[in-house]
Symmetry: C2
Subunit: 455 residues, 2 copies
């Protein structure tokens, strides 16, 4: 097959790219209500592209939030079915002033597409549509492919669960295939076998009932920023362990063997530090960087604000201070349980001079892919076919909360075949996706379908 696929893809290289660039021009930011219309535009675009690529039917399903695009190409009902999951929504682009080009004005520099969503996940999701097109146009599709492309991944998929539960028959498949993660590099291909879960909360600390003059009241009334800082400071101990009673209770510690295997993955600490321009790394004592981002739960401050943050100086003692805090979870930790733990802990440690409100933003469960599954084996074989190397199984640090949802509701295993890189600036200014990775993904995915159909 290789030759016929390769020829088709080589001929349509520029078309594939231009179509992706058009998609990247739509500011489909799910977190911001002002982009509601853009979300619909983007869903419509995905529908059109799926139909053009050869899907039999495509439907836009409204939800209480942003719509879900479902499409399918059924070749032979007796053959295995792959459900491709992806998302067309993107993270907010702020801070805008740190972008070198417009986040929704995709710009190609040195073989990389710079745009919000280029990698996460429009670029990676689109590889699957172009793989479908390759298989259909070359008459080589032997299995069935379904697509479930949602618009709320970046806000925690609040409406996907209801959709999946009420459309089990529609979504029925023999495996779920997702490209929404990274590989080590094109030289060292890898497959994610684990993802961390997430508990994301927001905390509001209120001191006095109004902003005060810091000269008149300062020193006599609790400053909510100071109190919030003290609360945050207490969340990690001097070894950077998370200092919340019960936080680690459900963690299944990695075995010595697993840790030994992880230690073999290529990692250069000096290069890592240079890339980030930091003099020293920071993390939980007793664990390596790869372990800290893979097998250990973490607690990060995602945002903080309070008081006067504008130009110049204002001598205010503010009424309120806020923080966004999220924990990444490892297998056996439960997202709701940890969120409750966090919320209750913050309320408990707050001194009586302030009041604390803490609310859940969203969460997701940790996930492990079994490397004995047919889906994993097909993915590993596909990677080998196009990279000429066996992929390294790794535990990723990010979260795709819907993995455990699919497993629970559809009873199917999920395989995570990501083609991004850790250096793609996901969720950051100047997000990018290498053209080489984009094309390599389109090249590899048809093999996955072929091998999975043969298993």
């Amino acid at each position: 097959m290789q030759q016929i696929w390769k020829e088709y893809q080589e001929k349509n290289k520029n078309k594939f790219l231009n179509e992706l660039l058009d998609l990247l021009r739509i500011p489909s930011v799910s977190a911001k209500s002002e982009h509601k219309a853009d979300m619909l535009t983007c869903a419509e675009a995905i529908k059109q592209r799926l139909l053009e690529a050869g899907a039999d039917t495509v439907e836009i399903y409204p939800t209480d939030g942003h719509p879900i695009v479902y499409g399918e190409k059924i070749t032979d009902a007796t053959k295995p079915t792959v459900l491709v999951y992806g998302h067309y929504d993107v993270q907010p682009a702020e801070p805008l002033d740190l972008w070198n080009s417009g986040p929704f004005d995709p710009t190609i520099i040195d073989g990389k597409i710079f745009a919000r969503g280029s990698c996460d996940d429009k670029g990676q999701m689109y590889m699957h549509i172009k793989a479908l097109e390759t298989l259909v146009q070359t008459n080589t599709l032997t299995n069935n492919i379904k697509f479930c492309i949602e618009g709320e991944e970046e806000v925690g998929s609040p409406n996907l669960g209801k959709f999946v539960t009420s459309h089990k028959e529609l979504l029925k498949a023999d495996c779920v295939l997702i490209s929404d993660s990274a590989m080590i590099s094109l030289d060292t291909p890898s497959l994610d076998i684990g993802l961390r879960g997430l508990s994301y909360i927001e905390v509001e600390v209120t001191g006095p009932n109004r902003d005060l003059h810091s000269g008149v009241y300062g020193g006599a009334v609790a400053n909510p920023i100071t109190i919030l800082a003290k609360m945050i400071a207490s969340l990690h101990d001097e070894n950077n362990h998370i200092n919340i009673p019960g936080f680690y209770d459900d963690v299944i510690n990695a075995t010595t063997e697993e840790r030994a295997l992880m230690a073999k993955a290529p990692f250069n600490e000096e290069e890592y530090k240079t890339d980030l321009a930091v003099k020293e790394l920071w993390g939980e004592k007793g664990f390596s960087t790869i372990e800290r981002t893979g097998i250990r739960p973490t607690l990060e401050l995602n945002g903080i604000w309070g008081g006067y943050t504008g130009e110049g100086a204002k001598t205010v003692l503010p009424s309120k201070a806020y923080a966004k805090i999220s924990a990444r979870l490892v297998p056996n930790q439960n997202s709701d349980k940890i969120a409750d733990l966090l919320i209750n802990h913050l309320k408990k440690i707050a001194p009586a001079c302030v009041t604390v409100k803490a609310t859940l933003h969203h969460g997701g469960e940790p996930y492990i892919t079994p490397i004995e599954s047919n889906a994993y084996k097909a993915a590993a074989k596909a990677i080998e076919a196009t990279f000429n190397k066996q992929p390294i199984p790794v535990r990723g640090g990010g979260s795709i909360p819907i993995c455990s949802l699919f497993e629970k509701e559809l009873g199917t295993k999920v395989v995570l075949m990501g083609f991004g890189l850790d250096s793609d600036n996901l969720h950051s200014p100047n997000e990018k996706f290498d053209l080489a990775n984009f094309y390599k993904g389109i090249e590899t995915i048809p093999y996955f379908h072929q091998f999975f159909a043969e298993m």
Copy 2:
């Protein structure tokens, strides 16, 4: 005199008020460059009002920042001269959503003028212009009055020093009179005999060189928000003493007598707590609330920001976090010395996983008014004439950095005759000034000029 002044003021009550409201409609926010034109408009308005009130000459002096309005009414060069200082600039109005009416759309409710600057300092400064008018129109002015109304008080008066130093002859006076502070209440009049100094800095903590995905890098790279929180948390110890070596070195502690006198000032802790809606107060162990805001130095967080602060959730590990921090200083502490101490301390306690930049915003020296001075005595006598009560001398918590400047450059004592209230929401949403206080100020000030001229 009383009757003739009272009659004139009673007749012109509404005119005085309407003129002030016009002044309050000009958004003269000195901290924000977008208001540069409004600052000029406001300076022009002050000039016109001074001329209308009877000043002989009024001049707008440009500076490197916002202009200074100087005016004078010289009656007899052999008579004492009072230099009135005030400011026409105001604090930023943010957060706007907490105002019940537009900050620059003055609204009168229950006998109070709600507007940014109503008390601090347009309303109080304007009392002096109306007092001049009263004296001129009733032909009762016996001394000389000079006005120095600046436009940069709220940003630390960066250009006033240069102006004063280069215009010593112009500004020459026998005392400086300022109404830019509060009294206890109309029932319990008071005069400020001390003001705290100020050191205001801004700190920037940089972790990685770009915003990162908190799932991919979290737990392995220092989060600047977490580090900044730990740094802030360490600035006060468990007794809420400021935990910076050397911070208290130069503090002259109040004597037992002085503390005993302060303890006699009317203060109801339950009312104070109810007004602020806090369950508990917060402050340095071993000191009362009045001491904490009067005779003790303090360290307050005026603002903090970093990471994602918008709607919804973003899983970012930010590159930078910022805070605005200011210290209030008591006699013998030096503003520059404390600023250096703060900046160096923050740099010193920063761990190697981040870099810290700290810069000075502005500062000012603490000040004490001697109660034996003629100016203080004239002020006390004026208060007694219109309130029928002796004023209580108090140490104010705020800062008017120019007091020590005037004393140093002009060799004159400053008297602080404030007619605001602590509850006026200075620097906060819904700043207000009671009409009763406004009119009481206009009534009292002519007595000051009369008594000072007679001393």
